[in-house]
Amino acid sequence: MPQTPTIFALSSGAPPAGVGVIRVSGPAAYSALLALAGRVPAPRRASLARLSDASGAPLDEALVLWFPGPNTATGEDLTEFHCHGGRAVIAAVEAALAALPGLRRAEPGEFTRRAFANGRIDLAEAEGLGDLLAAETEWQRAAALVNAGGALSRQVEAWRERVLALSAEVEGVLDFSDEEDAADLPECFTWNIAALKEELSEWLARPRSERLGEGFRVVLAGPPNAGKSTLFNALVDSEAAITSPIAGTTRDVIERSVAIGGVPFTFVDTAGLRDEEAADPIEAIGIGRARGALARADVILWLGPEGEGPESAWEIAAQADRAAIHPKSSARFVVSAITRAGVPMLKQALVAAARQGLPKPGEAALNARQHARLAEVAEALAAAERLSDPLLVAEELRRARLALDRLVGRATTEDMLDALFGRFCIGK
């Protein structure tokens, strides 16, 4: 049986940086460390070493660490080189590793995939890790950390125990009905199902974890020349841009993702809203897209005539520095993009709204896949609560258990794993 390839990659940020951490995982991790550093330190102890390539040419002075498997992050032998973070140094160390037999560069997500393959983490944790690595703001990172740490897996286990206990009660009635102890279901049985279902409903109602990646969507809307673009620029300028590519950016709808106070936002500037009939065909398309953007918005900032905006939009009196084009008697915010008057207050209000509408740090959030499974559990419980034949109640509870099992990855198919690990970047 040929040996598992040993993989390596830079697992810290792109160079140049202060330090570049290169990870090596696999059966040749030990020999790779020996080849470059000339010795292998005690397990799990950082040690300074002079790295050199096969010809003896020095590469760098680096901290090296040796983690013998299987109790490592990947479940395999693992070596870490903490090099100086210059591009040339990193490239030279990587080239020296690539020249060793049995070593190759890692594919995206391959380290995590090995951790999963070696039973170090379950599916929910792997997904949390994927979100964690993609996190660009503090808010995203804190939320992903909860799942990566196994919070969701633990919660699923607790639910599973409760469904199992309910199942045991029904099965007792079905299989031991000729014995007195288990003649009928106790009265609290249905109540317990309902209580669990309620708890799941609360989870299902929470914001989903994808919302973190997309950011809180703020759409600026109003007729042409209402000052939308000026306010848009005032809101996004000087804020840290988030680089995640966002599909659907068009000429007519401009999107920009930024972090304000650590919270991810996507601001959307729409084409002016007019009667589609009055507009020319090309403009009509733009207006159509603007309406689409409005439908997906978390908050709409309405810069048009008072009371004519979409329901629950925030009334904004823009261009406060000029005689107002659309004077508003009870605007929520009065802002001037030019003088910036009112802009900080608006931002503060948006951050407060986003904190409500996005998953909270420290609270496990569900992604779409997990949400669908949990919805199935809730649906099965709702059916179990409704049905009177214990045989069918038992079947619904079995379905609930099955969906919980799938949530943490029991019986996952290879396709699903491919899709999952494809999201990771190299080195993770």
């Binding site: 049986m1 999963f116 379950d122 599916l123 079905l174 299989d175 009905s177 045989l391 029991r410 996952t412």
Partner: protein
Amino acid sequence: MANFDVIVVGGGHAGVEAACGAARMGARTALVSFDLAAIGAMSCNPAIGGLGKGHLVREVDALDGVIGRAADAGAIHYRMLNRSKGSAVWGPRVQADRVRFKAAVQQTVRSQQNLTLVQGEAAALVLEGGRVAGLALADGTILGAGRVVLCTGTFLGGILYRGEERFEGGRIGENAAKRLAAQLRGADLPMARLKTGTPPRLDGRTIDWAALEEQPSDDEGWTMSPLTARRLNPQVFCAITRTTHAGHDAIRANLHRSPLFSGAIAAAGPRYCPSIEDKIHRFGDREGHQVFLEPEGLDTHIVYPNGISTSLPVDVQETVVRTMPGCEAVRIVQPGYAVEYDHIDPRALTPDLQLRAIPGLYCAGQINGTTGYEEAAAQGLVAGLEAAAAALGKAAPVLDRANSYIAVMVDDLTLQGVTEPYRMLTARAEYRLRLRANNAATRLTGLGIAAGCIGDERRAWWERREALREMFHVKHSERIHARELADLGLPVRHDHGVKTLAEWLRFDGVTPDALAPWLGELAASDPALADELAEDAAYAPYLARQDAELRDLRASEALPLAADFPYGVVPGLSNEMVERLTKAAPGTLAAAGRVPGVTPAALSALLVHARRRISDGQQAA
């Protein structure tokens, strides 16, 4: 030297099904028993069937086995358990007259083609190159065969306990087959010890039946086997009594004299069928425990008090039974006792019930750690069909968890092993809704015909039934307007549109009988089939939902794990998991997922490693 394809050792429920099954497959078969007159004896409870167990009887019968028809031949009381619940958990059960049951079994084995009955004590296996080559009898006779099926019950190191008394042997009055046992021990098979027990037998003439609540036979006409056209015997009633405080006090005062509590018996007994001293010890606060008084036959006065199995000394047994209402003057005919015995860890078996360590040797019944006639019969059938198929180069019917309780049991045994005597429960079957006792023939008889284990009589019955089924399907596909049903007084709204009859059957109050106006004469042609199809219709939405689940299962069943899969090298598996997986040697990834204690993360690790091994193997080839 006489040569056979298959030799079956033991004439209990497992041995009879194994021998007759192998013979029906066309294998030259020998049934070796210490005492041919004892073939078909019911050693314990006179009941056959029950929850989960009734399913097994119907399935064995659907594959043309013996137990269903023999149960009907002996039945003196029929009862459908769980009648108030969904039909998938109904449990057909009969009380069988011991004499009539045994006579029916004897008649079947003696008239079975290809089957030779051999009276003698099995002394040792004949092995050649580690494989089974035959069986040596105690009188020196050697029987040649490449397949031997052991259905020897509790013969392995069986010790009987009654109070301070000890006896060796399986049943009272029979020898334990010691030499064969010693040989198996020598083969270094994984063994463990279990215990079971029986209650004292009572003289029915000394019971005051009038003082007790009667439990009559139910008055419907159903039978255990569809080939039994009608009930054959007069029906008797059982009665219900209870243990009392006075009895509990007597048990408590003498607990130290029970081998279960004195430490003499350390093996695990069944949790669901505990001895009366166990019940008092563990549920001491209970007012009393129900006891069913079951007549053992029409021509005997012996009564089996179900619910008070015990190993207490005889004098205590007497005191206890006499504190039960209606039994104040009862006489004990034979005292109860406990049996402790060795069994083979069934994880040492492959799914055809063959021992991995000794190719050609099959084990079925109590020797595998199960309890109950029905469980034994079902395993015997599997071992007999598989041994015959292997000997003849044929294929036995393919059973899996989605088509039979039989396969659920075999899968549970071979993957999970046992920690207490294994008894079938409907809860063990995850696809319970499709595994009903009343659709066993539909599920299995066709498979049996294809495998060649179905006799002419059942085949003819099956063909008639399939023709009727086709006619039902045609009728059930007819589209009928709600108005027509409502006009006949059925609980359907006029504006409910047009549906097929099969779909209407899902509505509450639309019974198979109610469809008579559309089915015509067909309705009365086979009421059991009409009921089965109506239940199919009722459960159809659930079964459709399970289909996706079954597809996933088949996918992971398609990933084989070799018997020598090196679980130890898969990182992430705990030592305990490695040990359990190595012992059970699951054949597929799906089976590995059913080994207890295997976590989702461990299963993913297995998935990836198994695939890697396969692709590496292909590259190497």
